[in-house]
Amino acid sequence: MDIGSLLHCFADPGCITVQLVNALIIAMILFLVASGLTLILGVLGVLNFAHGSLYMMGAYFTYTVMKYIGNFGLALIIAPIGVGILGVILERFFIRRVYGLDELYQLLLTYAFILVFDDIVKLIWGIFDLSVTMPPAFRRPPISILGSIVPFYYLFIILVGALLVIGIWFFLSKTKFGKIINAAASDPEMLMCVGINVPLVYTSVFALGSLLAGLGAGLAAPLRSMVPGMGFAVVIESFVVVVIGGMGNILGTFGVALLFGLMRSFGILGFPFFEMGFIYLLMVVVLILRPSGLFGKLRI
């Protein structure tokens, strides 16, 4: 433990700013991935282990678009849509067949897709680390806040992330389609009776979830390098967030993603040994005391 350096950081506004910005970056990207996972889990009732692989595909799509077209804005549109299409294929042809079955089959099926996607990436993009260079639009001098230096791109991510959080929340709670999704989560049969094509709703929820994972990956691409197999770490992190936040609960997911980011960025100063351990410990405690999640479930 190193409480000293944590206290030291709290005494310095510059250090606090840097760590806060880091926490927000982690939280925003994690939220995008985890919100997709939580939607799929809350509405379809399937824990999609392949969600991390969809994130990985998003990162590699971004890489390819950047390599051949070189426009980051375009990459942020093409890559998520590509991942969304992948999600539609996944849902329509495979995952649809295991709805309502024992969770064991769902775990296995989605896990099998991790293996498949990892090898596809190895075959197409190779086994080595790849990274996307910072797009020219963001190559600006860093901004100085409270005596600390914050790269311009970080602020961009935080801004876009905040807009997306509000946008997703608005879409799910205020629009008609969002209400249909809510209804599909609580009573699909009733929804069918009032004449709504529930399988189509399921497919679009899966596509939306995949799209969000792809978007998170696209935004993270200039910051994090990509390797085949990166999906394992991504899915387990977002899975923890989803379970603690409550399955299907978007605002809960955002809250826990923030907590996760703070624990990571500040925890690494104070408890460099166990910053991740605390998060899993929290997951254990939540599961034992409130299995439906810290903020309850299925209230979008």
């Binding site: 824990l47 495979f94 067949r97 295991v98 079955l101 024992d102 969770e103 064991l104 089959y105 775990l107 296995l108 099926l109 896990y111 099998a112 897709f113 991790i114 293996l115 498949v116 990892d118 090898d119 596809i120 190895k122 075959l123 394992f232 387990i236 899975f239 923890v240 379970v243 040994f273 166990f274 991740m276 351990g277 899993y280 410990l281 997951m283 254990v284 599961l287 034992i288 299995p291």
Partner: protein, 328 residues
Amino acid sequence: MKLFRLLRSNSWLLFLTALLAIVPLLFPSLAFVNIVSEMLIMAIFAVSLNLLIGYTGLVSFGHSAFFAIGSYTVGIMLQKFSSSLPLALPLSLFCGMVLSGIIALVIGFFCTRLTAIYFAFLTLAFSQIIYTVIIKWEKLTGGDQGLVGGIPKPAVQLLGLSIKMTSPFNLYFLIVVLAIVSFFILKILTDSPFGWTLRSIRDNSERMNFLGINVRKYQMIIFVISGLFTGLAGGLMALHLSGAYPDHAHWTKSAEPIFMIMVGGIRVFAGPILGAIIVTQLSAYVSKYIGVWGLIFGGFLIVYLMISREGILDVLTSKRRRLRKAKF
């Protein structure tokens, strides 16, 4: 007399033992010994996990925790005390089992309060805690690198004989003996009234509760037994690899035996063993000659889940049962 009857009804186990013992004596090949060792270790792992998944209906997705506790206990004990303790090797295996059992008792105490998917989540969370501890406790476990530098394997003194464990063939026979003994014990367990109670809990736990069976107690007992034997598998893996790695605790390690169970058969005792044989063999040959193991195995699993969802032995035994019924 009873033992004789047990042996007769489990003749396939005797056959397996004979095969495993004779083949390396006739054709002493190191490659064979290596791959069969790994196969048997994974088979112990899969069989003990299937006590939960197949027999009790509890999907544990965190069994890598016990596997890692077994392997690290054996590795650390042998690295520290191999020269100072008599019988260090069997003692370390025993300690690995017991420690896994104790941790399983603690984890099982909490997990059995939950059902269905929450049980899987909680076991996964616990195994991630163990994984983090292993990664971060560098002084004891070597962190990311794992226990490097090899694990000493002191000779075992048995009936005045000193058996050198550094020989891969002797280690192989130790693994064979322990695997067969474990299979035998667990087979007897699953055929006992206790085993049938577990099956009834799987099929209808509410009714078992009405009948006055303490469901949670049974679930905890089987969780601990499963943890014990998974710890044994982990300990043997440490000996086999001469090292313990954080990989052993990673959640992907929990998925491997589940694959084996699903492929081999979930409702038949020998199913996970057959699954372990198929998966390890396929993995060895495909990665050696083709190289895209994940694509082929993942694709195979997907097709299999789309078509049948029953393990090989499940299909065979249900067909046999159907034929038997048809005769009457």
